[in-house]
Amino acid sequence: MKLKTVALAAALSVSTAISAFAEPVKVGMITTLSGGGAGLGIDVRDGFMLAVKKSGNKDIEVIVEDDTRKPDIAVQLADKMIQSEKVDIMTGIIWSNLAMAVVPAATAQGKFYLSPNAGPSALAGKGCHQNYFNVAWQNDNLAEAAGGYANDTGFKNSFLLAPNYPAGKDMLNGYKRFYKGDVNNEVYTQLGQKDYAAEIAQIRASGADSVYFFLPGGMGIAFMKQYAASGVDVPLIGPAFSFDQGILQAVGEAALGVKNTSQWNKDLDNAANKAFVEAFQAEYGRLPSLYASQGYDTANLILSAMGKASVKDADAFRAALKEADFDSVRGKFSFASNQHPIQDIYVREVVKEGDVFTNKLVSKTMTDHANAYTGDCAL
């Protein structure tokens, strides 16, 4: 459990971003590397490390620790990183409940926290902080896009399903914010639940015309396989988390054709993304997921700020982060006033390419989308 990797960037290529301020930066990454949600954390870590390696920047040191998806362990690791390792920047947390346990304390102690995944609404609104940046999305974003997509498709009566934890509630609220039809039923399941027979029976009896669900990681695998076996044929929609590259192979045919919303896909047409997808496959021998893309963007954001300011000068470094002067694999990327992304969101469809299940872009559903909480944030 005490998996500890101290990785120093290898100076393989001639550096393109030679740091103007040769002040070393120590990054503490707490993420989920074992247990149920391990695939997500491993992708964030691998994406992050790939960006560090590609930059050839030797002034960045990354310490990686495994939180095993447990808030108490995440808090202990954060204390250790802040007090004994003396990191400058923290990142890595996947799950919103863990982020709520770690982020407020870290930013209050003057550390920067850059979230590569979790974006709970509590940290976007009243709880926003000048040292907290989210490089992925505010939790509601992809759900809002799914709501918009449901309107476009003409769904009028949706059945909503999510686990009972902060992100689950955000994901349902986000959907309802944009979706104009009726809500047939809202069901909250336990986090980590694997058997959805009871919920599927409710869907069968509900008469809904669409099922919107948010079940990340293994929960989504279980749900989709059971849904396919049940013979219920109400169309599914959801944010990308149940359809990421890591789990599609385990779901198999059951996911084919399902529409999902994401800020990224491997066939997004921009130079940074092409380079990322190629390099990731060459380095790790698998296709990147959206989590990997978020880890990669997070590292590049840190590297871009390191080129502009010293991390010891918090105000200058913060301003450099806020400029977001890096080539995001998503194309356009900037920060809203509460330091969450403004970005485009797309609809994807699960397809089979050869033997591999993956996503292809279908359409853009939101342009320059920020989030609903900028007004609540004092920044």
Binding site: M1, L33, S34, G35, G36, A38, G39, I42, N164, E186, V187, Y188, T189, Q190, G192, K194, D195, A197, A198, A201, Q202, R204, A205, G218, I221, A222, K225, Q226, A229, S230, G231, G246, I247, Q249, A250, V251, G252
Partner: protein
Amino acid sequence: MSLVLIAEQILNGLQFGIMLFLMAAGLTLIFGVMGLINLAHGSLYMVGAFAAAAVAGATGSFLLALVAALAAAALAGAIVEMVVIRRLYDRDHLDQVLATFALILIFSEGTRWVFGSFPLFLDIPAYLAGPVTLPGGIQYPLYRIALIVCGLLIALGLALMITKTRIGIQIRAGENDREMIAALGVDISKLYTIIFALGAALAGLAGALVGAIQSVEVGMGEPVLILAFVVIVIGGIGSIKGALVGSILVGLTDTLGGVFLPQFFQLFMEVSTATNVGSSLASMAIYILMGAVLIWRPTGLFGNSQ
């Protein structure tokens, strides 16, 4: 609320309970006969699921996969018993918990090392896929019906084994008085290995059967293990009959609670509050059940009141 929905949910609860029984049966035998708390039982469940996924991936046969799950889990169980567990019988429960907890970590990291961190694919075979229509117009997945039938057959087989066979007599004798059956010339260490392997095989089978409808991933056994412990506490430690009744009670309580409690609160609350309160209460329901049973019968429903 239609009758069809209620019937379907009862079937769901039954199916969940029967899968729990496969886990709990081994756990309760091991605890009852050897007096050992085996936290690594969930790892054997995982071993079964991974073995099944690997063999199904290589051969495409689901039956072979189930055989592989049984064999791999039984083998892992036998090896673990001979190498580690055997040294723990005379120790107190804290040592057993520590050692078997270490086994969880070893199994999890070992599995990750061999198979990687991403979930594996294991699907139900084509001949069991899809729904069937039961009398009364209930549409229900065929595979889940197969699970219920398979689990009940195993329960029957276990009951016959315990009551009718020589090994069953030895197991019952071992529960009552370990020293005495050793004195009567029964090879107690061989008996222990057999019981441990049997319990492991049942756990592995459950892992493979459930893995096909859920996900095969590292750490899949621990949530089930906790429920299996609740089951054996409710049913009474060491009793197969108790494990069966306990697991069906837990399965039904968990499933029906999760569905009907939120709807019950909707009768007099706003929808989102009702969903919240109902879901929270539903996740507590089995523990409340356990508490109530323990107040009524401190040794569990079928436990020996010594």
